[in-house]
Symmetry: C3
Subunit: 419 residues, 3 copies
């Protein structure tokens, strides 16, 4: 479906509705960000461009606390009593089992009631209802709308609709974007960043292949200059660079950190390679990045696979192939974009391997032999998604401060907690 | 599907089951009402004919209290602790997103667990199970069955089944009718009445275009004799009078109030105009009513649009058109049955506009330009549905008294509450 | 789908995954049982062969306590506070309304949050995800996976996967088998046994046609030697013996009790009669059993219908007929395998009639005229399923001891409880 700005003559109210917000949708992000906040905190989570480094660090801290509290019954009881009076609507007209369940679990961690609309054919839209009327219905019954839609700008438009209702004294609720079109998937970017944040703490053996060994890594293993945190890291991406909205969102967030280098490994093919608009955005931000077509290509004089501090693998999204792709893709040797135990053995000892999942058993970008390698972080990454989404909901509903205070009282002061 | 009474030779157990209750189904409502009660309160909510004016006033009072309590965390905690031990089954074999979600939210307001069966093709009915066996299964696991079915008398029959089980010492649960065939939709009627009750309190600016201004309206605006409450009001209905079960149910409830006049505005077409049985029922009850084909027709010497105290708009239910309708409907000028800002500007200043929703963006019976008019009450009306359904469930489970008592203690006595 | 052991060359990772556990799947049950336990209690409930008589008695005791506590608000509050911090995943890729709802209700009795995946076509499997990756995703977000699958050994394989994850220090959760292929349905067997346990207590008029009358039954009615409990009973099965996995599971559990006799009544037809492997298993266990083709066949010199201590009726599963069956089944007089009031009147006064439900209104194996007979236990049986599943979940999560202790304190000691 085309966005409002490319439409000639809107014929339905749905088209007029999107057009209504067209001028707001066309603004640069920095003009939009304040409108998506309230009292200095994020109210509508629409795109990853809203997130700053301090926010990412704060949210990771909340997620860490939630995770730790969830280990005891007392902590779980505290959490499920935070939002039992709130009702969530998961409005997923674009199918997604994983993101859907992750949000469900995140809501339940905080005690929220969950409701869902997943099949648009059973909804009132078949009776001529506009999308905006549907969203207003949801906002009448529920306290947050978590939405995933094939329409690129719908989540953002709904956030503006809510703000307009708010201005006119009507009821409005927060909107959380759980994936909109090919464009944005901000909470996936949050969980990817959170997984890297945990890994580069070198603190917990489940999160990092080399926990508690930062000194040893530097002194004995020759990783001089290795530091905690995301700054100064070289992060690789492999596979479907062109269509991977998770690649795009994560890369833009990594660009926020100091001295990060990005390496994109994938076939030099118009559908799979980096899009021009993304290249421009990276140049705009002065990010150093490299496009290569093999893990054996050289970076700083050595094969890139040996130089990465982290590797983000992706699935080739063949369900989005167009007719022209079929022939040209058939000539590519995709085996170069599949990990092997041999490749993994040459990676840095501490370098986590991520994947947004699902992985494709037929393509084999990560064969299961690698699952037991301590660098394999992709299952852990899925669970991180639940914690960071719970943290985001806690932020949106302004109960993150209760979590911090409870943590300080019950865990830090009383138990002299050390993880 | 034909009702039991019109069937010649029942062939399946399902048909015999409906036939079993046929003589009870044929009785006049006043003979049925006592059977649907227990200890003087409604146990099974099956048709709007069960509701009396005192009951409607009482229920609106409970809904008002729930609404107010929901504004604070303390009040919400009180509410979600009322029925956390109860499990609801929403058995919706006729699709309805709006009613479904409204009931889900209402259950959650009171802390109930929700369960659903929506697609009959996945149920045990494909294995030869009768509907009554399905209902008994639900009553084995759950504490209330909220049902919506295309079969006209099914909800009522299930209520009798439950009563018979009760008599024989077996487990039985309350049945709530969430829409049965073309016949009844009693909780929609409840929310429509509740919206009018709120509007004609002239108390809250969100519920009434003219809050706190009853004296002013009478003295300065020339609305002499305007009173609080539903009595003495002229209520208009526009659109699909013939097929609108919400029109029928609401009209019959309005007939309970003193000196109410009803005006039906719609095309003079056999499918869309008032059915003869409804005309007879209104005559039986001595209700004054008028059938007109335009808002410009005269009532008391002025165009009717200017004389209405409230206007109930409806959607033309074209999905129920039969083959014969297609040609004859094509000749009608439907634009006369769509509101315009110009028409609204001529309405009484305090007259609320209702719509059972969804509205049809292609038909345009209420264009969005009207949404910001203070008379537009249809979004508010949707949220009223959640409150009044929660009130009904509280009544059925006999916790409404706990709500009244808590309200008296915490809100009236302690805070000297004034809305 | 064929099991791993019969596959020649596995082509997909899914096939390799099942093959991975093939040698473990092939072991005799007594070698598997310890692996499905942890700290002496069942962790994964996969097949009925895991259950011993002491376990069955213990579980029935927990179910009895849960049932009793559920009668009061104080007891319900105790129960829903046992597991509110646990999130269940109901992964039902084989449709089943009844088992699904029964598990949902059981979870809710204990306060658990429920989540579901029922339609595999909307899941990540369409993107090439393996089943094992899906299960690991569920185990990332949820605390127990209750699964029903058309693939015979999948639940067992998933239990081994979880154990392997546990061994390697990764997160793992309990697996509960809610029906796997034509093979096992262990919780159905639990509820069937529980219903018989309740009936043969002769304690509660709702569970037993002859409550509190064991002495009278023995002395005046001539049922000499009748005892409490399942030992020394003659249990009849009627209908689809060959394809009824509930028949198979229940028969094997009954074989655990002393001096039980089993009578199978059904057509002598290759699809419907007992399979050879079951015959061998019964012989192995020294169970006395009889195969008859009519209720009028003689046992101990009288028609078998008059000799049964309990009768388990089943539905002919015609949806599983193969092409060859159509002709041969057409010649069978199935009316002999349908109960009638006359047959019931000749049964022992105390003999409960069970049915796993749904029953088939078109086949008529139990006509509704029998529903009011005190021997009809099949609706009660459905509700028993909820209680025994709640008891199993309480056992798996190790809160059964809290239930026993609460019961002792609040019900036995304080109230001198007598049912």
């Amino acid at each position: 479906m085309s966005t409002a700005s490319t439409m000639k003559r809107p014929k339905t109210q749905d088209e007029r509705d999107l057009l209504l917000y067209d001028s707001r949708l066309q603004r640069p992000i920095r003009m939009k960000t304040p409108e998506l906040e309230r009292d200095g905190r994020i109210r509508h989570a629409i795109f990853s461009g809203q997130f700053t480094v301090p926010f990412l660090e704060e949210l990771a801290g909340i997620a860490d606390m939630i995770r730790l509290m969830s280990k005891s019954r007392a902590g779980q009881d505290f959490l499920i009593n935070l939002l039992p009076h709130k009702r969530a609507m998961l409005y997923f007209t674009q199918p997604s089992t994983r993101t859907f369940l992750s949000f469900m679990a995140a809501c339940q961690v905080l005690g929220m009631s969950c409701n869902e609309v997943r099949d648009p054919s059973t909804s009132s839209e078949t009776k001529g209802e506009t999308r905006f009327d549907s969203i207003r219905m949801f906002s009448s019954y529920f306290d947050v709308v978590i939405m995933r839609s094939p329409i690129a700008r719908l989540a953002e438009s709904c956030a503006y609709l809510m703000n307009d209702l708010d201005s006119s004294g009507s009821r409005s609720v927060p909107i959380v974007n759980a994936g909109s079109g090919a464009d944005e998937h901000p909470t996936q970017a949050l969980l990817d960043i959170y997984t890297l944040q945990r890994s580069f703490q070198f603190a917990n053996p489940k999160d990092s292949p080399s926990s508690n060994k930062l000194d040893e890594l530097r002194e004995r293993k020759g990783y001089d200059g290795l530091t905690k945190g995301l700054a100064h890291k070289t992060i690789g991406f492999c596979g479907d660079i062109g269509r991977g909205r998770t690649v795009r969102s994560l890369a833009m967030l990594l660009a926020l950190y100091e001295d990060v280098r990005l390496v994109f490994v994938g076939p030099d093919h118009p559908t799979l390679a980096m899009r021009e608009d993304m290249r421009e955005r990276l140049v705009d931000r002065n990010v150093r990045f490299y496009e290569m077509d093999s893990f054996e290509d050289s970076l700083d004089g050595r094969p890139v696979i040996e130089q990465l501090d982290a590797l983000y693998m992706t699935r080739i999204q063949k369900e989005h192939n167009n007719a022209a792709d079929t022939d040209s893709l058939a000539t590519i040797d995709f085996s170069k974009y599949c990990l092997t135990p041999e490749l993994v053995s040459r990676m840095k000892e501490y370098a986590p391997i991520l994947h947004p999942f699902p992985r494709d058993q037929h393509f084999g970008e990560i064969p299961p032999e690698i699952d037991n390698d301590p660098r394999a972080m992709y299952f852990r990454q899925a669970r991180n998604g639940m914690w960071i989404r719970a943290a985001l909901l806690a932020h949106v509903f302004d109960v993150d401060r209760l979590i911090s205070r409870h943590f300080l009282t019950e865990y830090v002061e009383r138990h002299h907690y050390n993880e």
